[in-house]
């Protein structure tokens, strides 16, 4: 492996994001310029005067990674130096889907040749597991704590892939840290694509999701195998390369692995929320044609 993300970083043991970064850089190679907004990735990789990055990397503000990436790309273009490398922005779900959404929309709209990867750990992890617009229904977060009066998060996740597709992007994909080869393949396609591209990457945070550190990859795979995290690409507006499932697992198989959902298994209201989550997986299966019909 190229080891472009150096050891010694401060991510928790078993962090999905740390695996994600090493795989992303394995796929891009060293000729990239990377921007990251504030969040776990920035904090664990760059305690001054150290850095874990072995490629040019810059920390933006929490809200403007896409704008900084746009500026780098425009600068390389103006100087005639685009052959020196591709521009990549890698941000968390908060930095992307919440506070960075406007900057990202602008980058898409202006057509910058930037690959934006959102590692989605489904909350504001670095500041202590506050909910974001990407926290899934039923998850307990510190600002949506499950208890007597609440079953946790009540809103569904934003559909980031569709938001990107709606901007007319030529290459958009969902990916998972649990499927390394698929992820690296998609990163290569995204950076090779001319113009803006976007990857929505499911990335477990064992600390915030509350599962054993050894289970990170297994939990990521269960999200895919239950239909809660469909893997697909959208090329020029067409959904392609859907990962189909021979036998889709019940959502309980995913939910029961994590402490953030454990309250759902204790009450009648929780059981109702689990039925709602199963209905979301069923809707995904319908929308993306996930279920492989063995009879076919």
């Amino acid at each position: 492996m190229k080891n472009l993300f150096a050891s010694g970083h401060r991510a928790c043991g078993g962090c999905g994001m740390a695996i994600a970064i090493k795989l992303i850089l394995e796929a891009t190679g060293e000729n990239v310029f990377v921007v990251s907004p504030t969040g776990c990735l920035e904090i664990v990789s760059s305690p001054y005067p150290e850095t874990s990055w072995r490629v040019p990397w810059i920390h933006s503000l929490f809200e403007n990674a896409a704008s900084v990436a746009s500026g780098i790309e425009a600068g390389l273009k103006a100087l005639g130096r685009k052959d020196e490398g591709k521009v990549l922005a890698i941000g968390g779900d908060g930095g992307t889907a919440d506070i960075g959404m406007g900057a990202l929309s602008g980058m898409f709209e202006r057509g910058h040749d930037v690959t934006y990867i959102c590692y989605d750990n489904e909350a504001y992890m670095n500041t202590g597991v506050q909910r974001s617009s990407m926290t899934p229904i039923g998850a307990s977060a510190t600002t949506t704590p499950a208890g007597k009066v609440s079953y946790g998060e009540i809103h569904p996740k934003k559909d980031l892939v569709s938001i990107a597709v709606a901007h007319g992007l030529g290459y958009v994909a969902s990916a998972s840290v649990g499927y390394a080869a698929d992820l690296m393949d998609k990163v290569k396609k995204a950076v090779d694509h001319d113009g803006p591209s976007f990857i929505h990457l499911h990335s477990s945070c064992c600390t915030g999701w509350r599962h054993p550190s050894s289970k990170t990859v297994e939990v990521m795979r269960l999200a895919v195998l239950t239909g809660l995290w469909p893997l697909y690409e959208v090329v020029d507006g067409e959904v392609v390369n859907v990962k189909r499932l021979a036998k889709r697992l019940p959502v309980e198989d995913y939910l029961k692995t994590q402490g953030r959902f454990s309250h759902l298994f204790k009450t009648d209201e929780g059981a109702e929320v689990i039925r709602q989550i199963q209905a979301m997986a069923d809707a995904n299966a319908e929308q993306y044609g996930l279920d492989l019909d063995i009879e076919e």
């Binding site: 740390a18 695996i19 990789s45 760059s46 990055w53 072995r54 390394a180 064992c206 550190s213 050894s214």
Partner: protein, 86 residues
């Protein structure tokens, strides 16, 4: 320390931070069981699983945090975790 506008660090300097001390469990391998699937190399968050033709799979204990992913993902059930006595 002199303050400047912005801060620049040399590439890969976090290697001075030996994270092996975070570990409570330590991975060990039974080499005969390894089927060379390389899941351990691919998924270790610390890039602490190494391979050479001569030595096969081995660990860089300077950085291994003992998360147990390599063991959990090992196709050959060759990697097991042990409580580490310090």
């Amino acid at each position: 320390m002199k303050l400047r506008i912005g801060a620049i660090a040399d590439p890969g300097t976090s290697v001075v931070n030996l994270t092996g001390g975070w570990r409570t469990e330590i991975p060990r391998i039974t080499p005969e069981l390894c089927i060379r699937c390389f899941n351990c190399v691919i998924y270790c968050p610390e890039s602490a699983v190494k391979y050479s033709d001569k030595e096969g799979i081995y660990f860089d204990y300077d950085y291994c945090k003992g998360c147990g992913i390599c063991s959990n993902e090992c196709s050959g059930h060759a990697i097991y975790m042990e409580m580490e006595e310090k």
